[in-house]
Amino acid sequence: MTLELFLQHFFNALTLGSLYGLIAIGYTMVYGILRLINFAHGDILMLGAYFVFYGTTLFCLPWPVAVVVAILGSALLGVLMDKIAYRPLRSAPRISALISAIAVSFFLESLAVVVFTGLPRPVHQPEWLVSIITIGGARLMPLTLLVPGVTAVLVAALLYVVYHTKPGLAMQAISKDIETTRMLGVSVDKIIALTFAIGSALAAASGIMWALRYPQINPYMGVFPGFKAFIAAVFGGIGSIQGAVVGGLILGFIEIMTVAFFPELSGYRDAFAFILLVVVLLVKPTGLFGEKQEEKI
């Protein structure tokens, strides 16, 4: 393999990994606080992409406006989702909330089929994002650099919010002990809603970039990225934001590089993540950055 080719694979992996990481953050934050796998998270990604698509085509919004609207819309949707489908089940067995999440996921997908039809739609890529540039011998699209760049900025902003602001500290406190935090006078439901808003906004951002990178959208586009990002979150150690990003990047590299070096395995690409999941859960269920929790006897 030539260096150029390798660099191209490298940047592809970086892009895919960043997207996984960005989606994984939403899973890890919600799981860290509610111990709930938000199955519908991948569908928020899909809706974010559709919002931008319809914003720019149907309502002729300029790109930046459409993106902001889509992200805000998705954040709102995340909050609504929590309020309608998850909040009533806070005291119920955890699996009930999970079934509820599965139902929400199917609801959003089938609603998207009804509203947007099930046909895949091509996405128009702005010219300046896809005109080939050459860096160090590798031929790249600016998009390939944009995605990791945007991801880095978003993650930095998020880390600032979580570690240096009051709501962020409240989030951390809730993930340690929800009842105690409630008794300390933190309005837990608001913080949880904020968590959903942030997670969904990030999912929408990654959905938009996903649609630009792989220029096609359909109602089920969020399903596989969602599953895989969740696996990345588990791999990184569920509950840890840094872990989610690292997990996402590693998963992106595994997928791209395995296929790059062993092209005959390309048919099995979708299985890699799940194999990784089984291995991680068996070897180190707490993931790279996770903390151990034990049941008291």
Partner: protein, 369 residues
Amino acid sequence: MNAKPAFNKRDAALTALALAVLYLFLWWADGSMAGALSWSFLPSPLNGYEIQILNLVAVYGILAISLNIIYGFTGMFSLGHAGFMAIGAYVSALCVLSPEQKEIMWIIDEILPPLAALHTPFWFSVILGGVVATIFALFIGIPVLRLGGDYLGIATLGFSEIIRVLIVNATPITNGSLGIKGIPCYTDLFTSFTWLIIVIFCTVRLLNSNFGNVLKAVRDDEIAAQVMGINVFHAKLFSFCLGAFLAGAGGALLGNLLTTIDPKMFTFLLTYNILMIVVAGGLGSITGSIIGSVIITVLLEWLRVVEEPLDLGFIHIPGIPGMRMVVFSVCLLIIILYRREGIMGMREITWNSIGRWFSSLGQSKEDKA
């Protein structure tokens, strides 16, 4: 919950009577049988489509029971059902197709020689489908059943996706994404309901015995179960494999009912449908699973109405494709939000409970009089 001493003459008689009525109904409903012994004075009003729904009720009943054993009775949240069903369906299809059919159908890659020659009776193919699914369940279960709750769900879901990827890629065995067509339609009303009844009979016997209590103990409190000398891992593996066996057999029946199978059929959506039946019927209730499969299957078909154009003469409502699943997910949401225990909860309908119900009915009438 009502584990009465095993054999009671009245119950046995009532069960036999109910079975006789059921089979009489099936005989009448199945138009193809009418030719032999004419029911011309009471022709079956059911068309092929309605018979198909009845068949689906029976097959979904088996599948719901199998998931209920794993999730409702043993408390393992498994989302891998579509995988086991796919295995069963493919194994059965490979068994019942004639060597000539297989030779014509495999066009991407030639079919593996030993599989090409394989040709077995239908009943055997169903059992073999279950057995192969069980073998897979053993291999997947030994590593992942140590995981709890939602992690197990994700791992089994991953497993079922891996199965699908394997089916797409293993063209010499599965014919890849083209799928298998022209499977003989062996699953008629008698076959499907007979399998359902055998499955109900065996599972009820097992679950009403102390083995059933042991599974429920594992579901309720693993730590206490260990202290009671229960090998929790064995119990879980047993339940997982039993569920996988029934899922494989159910998948085989489904394949022979639909006559066409391909990897796209066995997505998470299929698992979701089964999960929905189990949750709606009641986790930990076999009668609930049966009731659930009747209601959900009929509802799923009936909801096709909303997808078809509606012409009321003066107003024309165009059909909305996909609306069915929207209504459906809202239904599941409502169940899980407002009636989490489903229709039956953990209760069962037994002859005793029916008897009590009738006597209470009689009493309340007497009270009024």
